[in-house]
């Protein structure tokens, strides 16, 4: 084939992308969740190109290569399942999509989001971010394979639990990659050097954490998100890290409206240290801190907040 000769993929106007990785605690529920990821990608393709001309496939296999495959070629028919796989501690997966008339990078992006939205305990063999141009936020209790990559090339935001976050400088020094186009994180088009990036952090102690406290914390996070939007800010991240004395940490992350991710198990305990972090574009740190303070004050979860008083006015100062 000469360099100038088009490949059949180019002639057809198609693209094919995929991920490989592994899933922990695989069971029938995980199969259903993965199946939904295929459907989500299928819907995205139809929205983008008008029809699903192509296929979306996944193979979920054990070490010996046996397992199941999922195949979606038509949204009405749904996902076809081939084979059978009993619950496994760990399985490998391949997730691929070959379709027409969509942007390859956006397709990969949509696939990654579909995977994220499954709530599966998964990891990818290769970080997807190199082509995503995201300001994603990663947690690295066990270390992320793409840490250095991000730190060097992207404005991404990483946390190594227990350490101070150093993303401030990324945000200040680097341009956002999203540019406001087709962004999945509700970012606004902006340049960090032109628009203020507010980053507020409150720490303190939660008391008497019960299962229902989880919803209360989510409501607080939600109210902060809504407030940022109400003052024409662009929320980037709202995150609550809960560190009980005798249990593993839990991290609740909100990077999109109505989408939160819980890492770890929400603890029920008498006392737990917490850290609430809010990052938003177009709102200053003091304002966010103030609002976050009130969101926690209004919450049903008993808490004490460390440091100075964050609100000098009456309780009605910012509630309206």
């Amino acid at each position: 084939m000469s360099d100038q000769e088009q490949t059949s993929l180019e002639i057809a106007g198609g693209c094919a992308v995929g991920f490989t990785g592994s899933i922990s605690c695989y069971n029938a529920d995980a199969e259903a969740r993965f199946s939904k990821a295929l459907l989500d990608v299928g819907k995205w393709v139809v929205e983008e190109s008008g029809s699903l001309l192509g296929h979306i496939k996944a193979a979920i296999v054990k070490e010996d290569g046996s397992g199941i495959t999922l195949n979606l070629t038509d949204l009405e028919n749904g996902v076809e399942h081939h084979g059978r796989l009993d619950p496994q501690e760990k399985v490998s997966f391949s997730f691929m999509c070959a379709v027409l008339d969509v942007d390859e990078h956006e397709l990969k992006h949509a696939m990654w989001h579909a995977l994220e939205d499954t709530g599966l305990d998964y990891s990818l063999d290769e970080a997807p971010c190199h082509c995503h141009d995201h300001d994603h936020h990663h947690h690295d209790e066990e270390g992320c394979g793409c840490h250095h990559h991000h730190d060097e090339d992207h404005g991404h935001h990483h946390h190594d639990h227990g350490e101070e976050c150093g993303y401030h400088h990324h945000h200040e020094d680097q341009e956002p990659r999203h540019g406001g186009e087709r962004c999945c994180h509700s970012h606004k088009s902006s340049r960090y050097e032109e628009v203020e990036v507010g980053d507020a952090m409150l720490t303190g102690t939660f008391s008497d954490l019960r299962p229902e406290s989880f919803m209360s914390i989510l409501e607080s996070m939600d109210s902060i998100w809504d407030w940022i939007c109400s003052v024409d800010g662009a929320p980037e991240l709202i995150e609550v890290t809960i560190a009980p004395e005798d249990a593993d940490w839990a991290v609740i992350t909100m990077t999109e409206k109505d989408f939160t991710l819980l890492e770890g198990k929400f603890p029920t305990c008498k006392k737990a240290a917490f850290r609430l972090e809010c990052v938003a574009i177009g709102v200053n740190e003091k304002e966010i801190k103030h609002r976050a303070f009130h969101a926690l004050e209004d919450s049903d979860v008993k808490n004490t907040i460390n440091g100075q008083p964050y609100c000098g006015g009456s309780h009605g100062c910012c509630h309206n």
Partner: protein, 195 residues
Amino acid sequence: MYVYILGGFLGSGKTTLLMKLASMYTKRGEKTALLVNESGEIGVDGATLKAEGYDAIELPNGCICCSLSGTLQSALRNIEKDIDPDVIIVEPTGLALPHKVKELVRVSMIDADETFIIGVADVQRFDDLIRKKEEFFTMQMSHADFVLINKSDLAKEGQIEEITSWIKKKFPGKPVISISAKTEENLDKVYEMMR
């Protein structure tokens, strides 16, 4: 040794048909080798075949009609040397041009008695495909020895006739059979046409 190339668009049912053909040849007592190709770097069809009890040689991460042309020829020579099958069934990616694959088989120096292309069209997405990629679909079907209109079990009334008429008009004289690889409808007619 005969070589069959399954040509058809993505999702047209080539892998399902491949499995049926492999079973048919196995029942006939003929040694069959399966070669599947996927354009993405991630191959899934091999796992599908394995899940259904078939072993296949996978060529992922490119298209055997263009970027993986050399790999295809090596694979064919290895299959001939190591397996020496009676039949090789090649399933290229759904974005491949089967006549290019056939040409590569011809120049691969394997001792093939004859190479056939089976065109596979998909009832469900035929209209969309013609509306958006008629030229490409035509290229895929143009060198087929016969065309199968697959997924007849999902066809609406009159749809098979319409598609048959379109294909016959485009490719006069080419045999056209409506089948369902899934339900095995009319597969006996296909088997009769195969060596």
